[in-house]
Symmetry: C2
Subunit: 473 residues, 2 copies
């Protein structure tokens, strides 16, 4: 039995939070949750609960929920499965609206005992009108609202991307990796077993959330297919929805928290349903992050013509192949443009094609001028600038590479077409560290960075395909 | 007109090398070639040629080729295109067998001038019986024979992998990146425009080369299709041939050095021809490196059943999905094995499936015991051990992660099934540096490491498919 869909606003703006199992032991989960929320400047009352009482991180700790003065809106439980259930009555007495459960050992075990425990949990919570997030989840990352994953030291920066994510590990990876790639989040909601609040609830909530401009999702089991698809359809009418469904093969399905009887063959049906709902489907967390980037950084693009500048030789051939095989087009430069490039570069012949093979023009002024000229050509809709770190640094020299990066950062915003940057490294420590710091500068300038042309092209292609479907398709 | 196929042995074992354009200026190509070959301990006579004469890197420099005493077997030219042609007569007089040309500006420009220059080069060289490698190439990496790419500081270690590679950038990337991944090379031959010695020559040579056990190739244009396919067929009967063909799309083809009139649509024909020839086709340099690894580290595997141990949660679901969608199978563990795992781990339910979700058992003894038990099960043919660096380090603790890596390295060789390791990082500097040093330890122990399960699964799948085709298929 599903309870009605709640307003996310009510649930995620508590005036008070109790943390059950809070502890002064810095290796404990209770410490981490308390510390995380304090570091995110939660504005309401914060009540550590620990049988020993005393003081934790400067706050008075209460031996039990009952001992807390006043009401509690939101309860974060870090204690094991069984005792959690005994909490519910006390939470209800204190007026709790939400119970967020870290504990595993419920239905995700696939065993009778866990299933029964979860049933009992849901029944008791429903009876007392408490909504449950989890169990088997790491909770909510909501920097603006002061909610944090345990142990996270993530950026407090708030942004346009919302996420509902069934796996705690994926939630963690998404925020960590996404931040490095330039994504800031409105809310990331990890919901584990979805025993009460489920993927449809969170999808509806994010669809209506004014702080969320792009919805992303990682889902494994889906409790109510028709409701979910309906929610997805509505959400996708309001904003882009990018979805990664885990368990698309027989073995993947067995590994999910849901363990439903659904067959892997049904994946084709999900494909069709996602397409109908105008949901952008991705197949890994990396691809999800890749695909978000144009949605937050680029204007609408409807044509798939890309101009590629950089790299050289086989890397340029591979770049062209990867773009076209992902559905983009890499049109040859027209004679007048080739002529203009020839005026100031030593480029000849196919180096003046598209990709513009810049092995010969690793010179900041020439590189930028080339990029600007290609950008002004109306035959292309977007740009990819492409460098292999170690080759550029070793063949052209560190100072030339630095000069090009500086020049790119200065001119990028003035280019007449949106640009993505592809930075590749051989994987040497020097290359990786350079890549990290160069990527950081581009990300701070609002320019998406990809590790391969194939991944950039894939994301751009999905972005352009999205804009070519009308909302009523 | 093609000259006959030479014996690689004769060409690549010169007793003397002249370097045209050798220089004491460390930013010049001539310096780099000379230095590279000296560092690779070339055992024969080395003659720097520079109009100024004098001494370069401790060696007497000769104003011209004619001034060199005695004969020259192998000439490396680092001077521009036009004057190179004027060299040929002098080289011939000195008995040169091979002329290796770094210079670009020939037919790869796609312009009349370059085409004519290349024609002239070939005619003159043929007339005097000199074989040409290039132009527009970085030459040969042959650590055992003392031949080196310009400016390379690559490992001197010799190994079983041979490569013919049309792009200098890709040649460089392959040796650099491949070395980090644990690949050592017999010979890597960069051949650029292939004006004389071409892809078919080098393929035939590597097929007959006793130092080469696995052949890899990056080719763009193919001069003589039937001869090449015939060479590929013969080579693949002798040893595995892994081939990456650039220019599979219209735009990719335009970017190649060949600029033939071939249509991108012909890519399907190449697909069929490669399949017939039992050539393993790959689509990027990363995929080429990935695919080499099982061929050099693993025994023959004919069944695609994989046991996955590590990671946890969504990452395990994704791992299972990625394996099965690449054609591997991830069979569920049988009850007796689950029972034995339960005896010493807190794992329950689906965590005991396959993947074995080890979030609960990040403990070196338990992890290794789990891996050993899964390895002994005859339902699987290979293992994947899987960790997300930052999650492991932050959730389980650095010392636990270190302990597991140590234990893995100790036990890996004793496992009854071959194992690949997947190490993922969020991309934080700490994660990347840890990943680099952990990867290094595995590579030194002869265990292949991949950055994603999808890439590991793809390589394994191609490896297994190869072993399921008889040589006469």
């Amino acid at each position: 039995v599903e309870q009605g869909s709640p307003k996310l606003d009510n649930l995620l703006h508590p005036s008070s939070i109790a943390i059950i199992g809070a502890s002064a032991d810095p290796t404990s989960k209770g410490y981490d949750y308390l510390k995380g929320i304090m570091e995110f400047d939660f504005g309401g009352e914060l009540y550590p609960v620990n049988p020993k009482g005393g003081e934790i991180l400067g706050l008075k700790a209460y031996p039990s929920v009952k001992d807390i003065p006043g009401t509690i809106d939101y309860v974060i439980s870090c204690i094991p499965a069984q005792p959690t259930i005994e909490l519910i009555e006390d939470c209800a007495i204190k007026g709790a609206k939400v119970l967020q459960l870290f504990a595993a050992g419920f239905s995700e075990t696939g065993e009778e005992e866990g299933r029964k425990l979860e049933e009992e949990l849901v029944q008791k919570a429903q009876k007392r009108g408490i909504r449950v997030i989890g169990p088997n989840c790491i909770g909510v990352h909501y920097p603006k609202g002061g909610l944090a994953f345990a142990r996270a030291k993530f950026s407090k920066r708030s942004g346009p991307v919302g996420c509902l994510v069934q796996s705690g590990g994926h939630a963690w990876t998404l925020v960590s990796n996404g931040s490095l790639r330039g994504i800031s989040f409105s809310k990331v909601i990890s919901f584990g077993n979805a025993c009460d609040l489920n993927e449809s609830d969170f999808l509806e909530c994010l669809a209506n959330d004014p702080e969320t401009e792009v919805i992303t999702a990682y889902v494994e089991g889906i409790k109510n297919g028709p409701r979910f698809i309906n929610a997805a359809k509505k959400a996708a009418q309001a904003k882009p929805v990018i979805m990664f469904k885990g368990g698309r093969t027989e073995a993947g399905r067995r590994a999910t928290v849901s363990h439903t009887g659904a067959l892997a063959g049904q994946d084709l049906i999900w494909d069709a349903l996602f397409h109908q709902a105008r949901v952008i489907r991705v197949y890994s967390l990396d691809e999800l992050i890749d695909t978000v980037l144009p949605f937050i950084y680029f204007p609408e693009i409807k044509s798939p013509n890309v101009g590629i500048v950089g790299a050289g030789g086989g890397a340029s051939v591979q770049a062209a192949d990867e773009c076209e095989s992902k559905g983009l087009l890499v049109p040859p430069l027209p004679p007048e443009l080739r002529h203009r490039l020839k005026e100031f570069t030593p480029l000849v012949g196919s180096s003046l094609g598209n990709p513009v093979d810049t092995v010969e023009i690793w010179n900041p002024q020439h590189f930028i001028r080339t990029l600007e000229l290609v950008a002004t050509w109306d035959g292309i809709d977007l740009l990819i600038a492409h460098a292999v770190i170690e080759i550029a640094a070793q063949w052209q020299g560190q100072s030339v590479l630095d000069g090009i990066i500086d020049a790119l950062l200065t001119t990028a915003k003035g280019l007449s077409k949106p640009m993505a940057v592809v930075l590749q490294s051989f994987g040497t420590p020097r290359g990786l560290n350079m890549l990290y710091s160069i990527q950081k500068r581009f990300v701070q300038a609002g320019i998406p960075v990809y590790p391969t042309v194939a991944r950039a092209a894939n994301a751009m292609s999905k972005f352009i395909e999205y804009h070519n479907r009308s909302k009523d398709d």
